[in-house]
Point group: C2
């Protein structure tokens, strides 16, 4: 049975409730190759704590937290602990229902103590909230970006928790941002469907790749139509200078090359390193230091000539608020699965729009491209109204495990058309990669145990 519902309209019949919350610890053995390797994360096993919300009256909702291996079981436990908020609850199919769910999950004082609003519990809330958005959009028969773009400015503002934001953004100011973008919505949505949204690719630049691979993949990226690539940096300055030069020679002066230190440096080190790389014209330096260090990012931004990007590990809207207040960033990098779901990302989009800073989402991982494309497209249609200087990260792996994978052609994300959040994983992929009991891990388990790690009865 499939419902269509008008966004912002009345909730479904009371009998249409969430009947179950299913969680899977899904891991991919990506550390066997060096895809995904960077200066802080040498051996990630890309993983997802994957949640399915079953309902009485329609198809299930899907969401996930992305992790890089160990601890994915803790994320799964955190998601399970939220089951009492979901099971038995009427399906939150409207903006009001989604606002109430977000409020309940982030304002429970006992759970809030475990953050507050950060880390494992915040990501767990995000996975569940995003699954509810998948559910709601699917019932409306719309992809999440269009479902969001069909809401009124007032409905959108009501989705946001303005607590701790009002010194930077009031509800009235948010409303003004959204109303200013309202007139062109239909035209921009049409343009998006026709043209897609610009992407950049990180695939050439993993730190574990040798020079020949880097050059080959950088050239291929340009041939594939990307106007921007990204290199991982931060392990060794001489290596980075050489790699940056090779990449610049490979792509020419007209293609942007972003660099990403993945939090490797202290402030002075970031300034020194980027001053040395500046002659090769990096487009931005991403995560130069701790994601919590607002003042550190501001110091890096003023201390060297390259623009600063961060956000994929920023814990919540309060950190983004300060990054903007302090003038610490040139690009805001939202992540679909780190904060408390669509609702908190909406707050961040509104903050960035007010401060006039472009949003260039972090993606890759497991399902992050699938999810975040909806938020960037909604931002273009209904919030910032612009694609200028905006790109969504793209990494070309693990998409085949999703039923509605992100599609990038000629360097652009195609606008999703399937209803929902593109978050559904193929059941066969989930079954194969379940940790530790799926066949992929049963075959691999012994070599993947940490050195010195023992089986312990806990």
């Amino acid at each position: 049975m499939f419902f269509r519902n008008i966004p912002g309209g009345m909730p479904m019949a009371a009998s249409d409730t969430v009947t179950g919350l299913e969680v899977h610890d899904v891991r991919f053995p990506t550390s066997e190759r060096l895809d995904g390797s960077d200066a802080m994360n040498p051996d990630p096993d890309y993983s997802a704590a994957y949640v399915v919300l079953h309902t009485g009256g329609g198809p299930p909702g899907h969401g996930l937290c992305f992790t890089i291996g160990r601890g994915n079981d803790v994320m799964a436990a955190a998601i399970r602990s939220l089951a009492p908020y979901l099971v038995g609850r009427p399906v939150p199919a409207t903006a009001a229902g989604l606002a109430a769910l977000h409020h309940d999950l982030t304002h429970d004082s006992q759970l809030r103590w475990l953050g507050p609003e950060k880390g494992v519990m915040q990501m767990a809330a995000g996975a569940v909230i995003n699954a509810a958005w998948d559910l709601a959009a699917a019932r409306a028969g719309l992809p999440v970006w269009e479902f969001l773009a069909a809401l009124t400015p007032e409905e959108l503002v009501a989705l946001v928790d303005f607590r701790y934001l009002t010194d930077a953004l009031t509800p009235d100011e948010a409303l003004a941002v959204l109303r200013a973008a309202a007139p062109g919505r239909a035209e921009r949505a049409a343009r998006l469907k026709a043209e897609g949204y610009p992407a950049y690719t990180t695939s050439p630049g993993w730190l574990g790749y040798d020079d020949a691979t880097l050059v080959r993949l950088a050239r291929r990226a340009v041939a594939d139509g990307f106007g921007q690539i990204k290199l991982k940096v931060g392990a060794d300055l001489d290596d980075d200078i050489r790699r940056m030069r090779l990449a610049r020679d490979a792509v020419g002066p007209g293609v942007r090359i972003a660099v990403d230190a993945n939090q490797r440096w202290d402030v002075a080190e970031a300034v020194r390193w980027m001053t040395a790389l500046a002659p090769y014209a990096p487009h931005w330096i991403e995560e130069p230091t701790s994601p919590d260090d607002v003042l550190g990012h501001a110091a890096v931004r003023t201390g060297q000539p390259v623009k600063v990007a961060t956000g994929e590990h920023a814990a919540n809207r309060v950190v983004f608020k300060q990054l903007l207040q302090a003038g610490a960033v040139d690009f805001v990098q939202i992540d679909a699965a780190r904060v408390a779901g669509v609702n908190e990302n909406l707050a961040i989009l509104l903050l960035a729009a007010k401060y006039g800073v472009p949003v260039c989402p972090h993606a890759g991982g497991v399902g992050l491209c699938e999810l975040v494309q909806h938020l960037a497209m909604f931002d273009y249609v209904a919030v910032s109204g612009s694609r200028e200087d905006r790109v969504i990260e793209y990494v070309d792996h693990l998409h085949d495990h999703f039923s509605d994978p992100a599609v990038v052609e000629r360097g652009r994300y195609r606008a999703p058309t399937a209803p929902g959040f593109s978050a559904r994983m193929k059941p066969a992929s989930v079954a194969a990669h379940r940790f530790p009991d799926g066949p992929v891990w049963r075959a691999r388990r012994p070599p993947h145990r940490r050195p010195g790690e023992q089986e312990v009865p806990v």
Copy 2:
């Protein structure tokens, strides 16, 4: 068998290893009364995810995370996920061993993704690291504060992770702080044993108490020798003005009254509220807004006349660094069980000492008084060298569940003399309060389920 070991000396024989990691979800039904109620946390069930490290060659080590109920099972799962780092490891009985353990737990790139360095995983690391400190100090036959105070400045500096700190505090600067305090250590330790360390009490000020209880308990606090009390504020301004006036009348002008908003306000609200309370001379306003909001705290500090305190929910040393860099706080409130254990708190003590800001620890909860007294006393002996304007919070409940409870007499913490971290819970208390299977909860479970909460198969 009981070992004595010299702090900073050689590790125990290789056969003396950690043999098991035991975790208990322990909860106290404190929400039945209104002890612990504040503007953000109306119904806490004070809880601990309690960890015991078993060893092959001596008594076990004990540590805990404090939570306020729901989610304590997630904390327990996070602690369990750290077992592979402990079990089979030689007992880290020296400073070098404790530094290595801290590094391994906080630099595992896969686990770090779940924070980074914040929330559930950081607290779990803290519980385990603190349990290792309990183990090490017990084997040295010293309480943790004396075990720490017996380490050389060089050994102490080697315990700290300076990543992200060097723009505010370098290892050399930390060494200078510790060397400056070295000469008076023995004299201050002797004074501490004779005089104890000043405490303040929050017992009169819970938000759920009626006026008569507030006045009675405030008077009793003064009679008991406390020079400072604390009131919870932030729910209703008129109520707070009345309660503040009653408290001021009850204790007189010579006793300090701190107030605590528990993160309730936005910046403008904090300024307005505290401007209204200022005539009653509050000693500090604690947690006026989000614990992540460094710039917000700075704005509150400059916007109204009352001094600002925060830190119990600050996620890590990077947040404390910025609070000090931004001039956002007058008092630094460390918490023994929120950051990554003794090692990270040592970093915070050193930062505060360099910036000349007094540390006034947060306590209460379950076991926080027991733990944090050691850190404040060590700070006095070997870091700041001062008790001036410094007080440790004290809340008079749940101490009887500990084998070596904190003792406060005439408004002062008595210096602990028993070896270890005072973190051991009585086995009978653990057994009685285990959630959900202990007798205390078996008797109570149905009424304590949340409204609308259902038993779900997860």
